[in-house]
């Protein structure tokens, strides 16, 4: 696809991603830090987010699988995920984390289980969005263009 079309597809796709709250302005902040000296910055940070999240979700799962749930440990991991989702701008993931944090404080096993399910679902969704954005961004850069800055 030629550059002009790529950019259009990217902007249209990103508009929906932002409109639906999958990503917020923090993602734009990261884009603004990318330039010729660090052309893959957003891709690198995004990849780290995805790797961290997979690990954290696994940790959360294994804690909740225990007979006696260590809610403090659970909460510590939830807070980590809150932090990293905030850093990439994954708003919906972050919002579920906040609810999850409340359930941990209440010591509600059922509540936490539900939150984990929701979290895993939101993560899968934002993962797909991010991977699509990264693919388009890479193609735009390869075609010699610059990635359009997105606005909320």
């Amino acid at each position: 696809m030629e550059l002009h079309k790529l950019r259009r597809v990217y902007i249209e796709f990103a508009e929906i991603v932002f409109r639906d709250g999958f990503l917020d302005n923090q993602y734009t902040q990261l884009q603004q830090l990318q330039d010729e000296s660090e052309p893959k910055f957003v891709l690198q940070v995004g990849t780290l987010f995805l790797e961290d999240s997979e690990k954290l979700l696994n940790e959360l799962r294994s804690i909740l699988d225990q007979q006696d749930v260590d809610f403090e440990k659970l909460d510590a991991f939830v807070r980590k995920l809150t932090g990293s989702s905030a850093s990439i701008g994954a708003k919906r993931v972050k919002d579920v984390c906040m609810t999850f944090h409340d359930c941990c404080k209440k010591g509600s096993k059922e509540g936490c289980r539900k939150c984990l399910q929701q979290l895993a679902a939101e993560y899968r969704l934002v993962k797909r969005k991010l991977e699509t954005l990264f693919k388009l961004e890479t193609q735009i850069l390869a075609a010699g263009g610059s990635v359009p800055l997105l606005s909320q």
Binding site: N25, L33, S151
Partner: protein, 200 residues
């Protein structure tokens, strides 16, 4: 990125999260700082030339290149040595206590913030740290350097510099406490409102 005519200051960034280290490094470099990142408080102390149980750097350390650090920015929540512990060690060290320290955290806990400011932290940044936060760093570095210069000047004059420098510290810490309360509430307000702004 334009080359700064000003001196390039060196910031030591401490965070156990690789993702956050990448982010803070980029923010700092974009703001024309020289950056060293480490993943723990103990590694930070190594870079600063201080072993965990020391209170001052050895007079001669031939193994260390003299890397001058102008500011330390550290995450609060880290396994082992927290950012607060690191802050304490720096402020308790005779050789390092004048290095400005900034704490970062993804959680807005007023008691935590106050504790850090009282222990001598210059500022508290709420994560995710923004590019605009980087502008607040230089004044802290320059203030420290100015203090250094003042002390040198006083040492060269005949005045009783010991009394002057300690009363300066008292005034500055009282001023800073009062100022910090104001700055804290202002910054907290700004933090809550910045998320609704469109930044392009």
């Amino acid at each position: 990125m334009a080359v700064d005519a000003e001196a390039q200051f060196h910031v030591l960034a401490v965070d156990d999260s690789l993702m956050d280290r990448k982010l803070i490094e980029r923010l700092l470099k974009t703001s024309s700082f020289q950056v060293t990142t480490v993943d723990s408080g103990s590694k930070a102390l190594e870079v600063l030339g201080l072993k965990e149980d020391q209170t001052s750097t050895p007079a001669l350390s031939p193994e260390h290149n003299e890397i001058e650090v102008n500011l330390v920015i550290t995450d609060y929540c880290m396994p082992g040595m927290t950012g607060y512990d690191l802050l304490k060690k720096i402020k308790e060290s005779s050789s390092l206590k004048d290095i400005p320290v900034v704490i970062m955290s993804s959680e807005n806990v007023p008691s935590r913030i106050n504790r850090c400011l009282e222990e001598g932290a210059e500022e508290f940044f709420l994560k995710p740290v923004q590019l605009s936060d980087m502008r607040r760093l230089r004044p802290h570095i320059l203030k420290g350097k100015h203090k250094e210069q003042q002390l040198h000047q006083e040492e060269n004059s005949n005045t009783n510099h010991i009394i002057i420098s300690s009363s300066n510290n008292n005034n500055m810490s009282n001023k800073r406490k009062a100022m910090d309360e104001e700055v804290l509430s202002e910054r907290t307000r700004l933090r809550f409102s910045s998320s609704s702004l469109n930044v392009i």
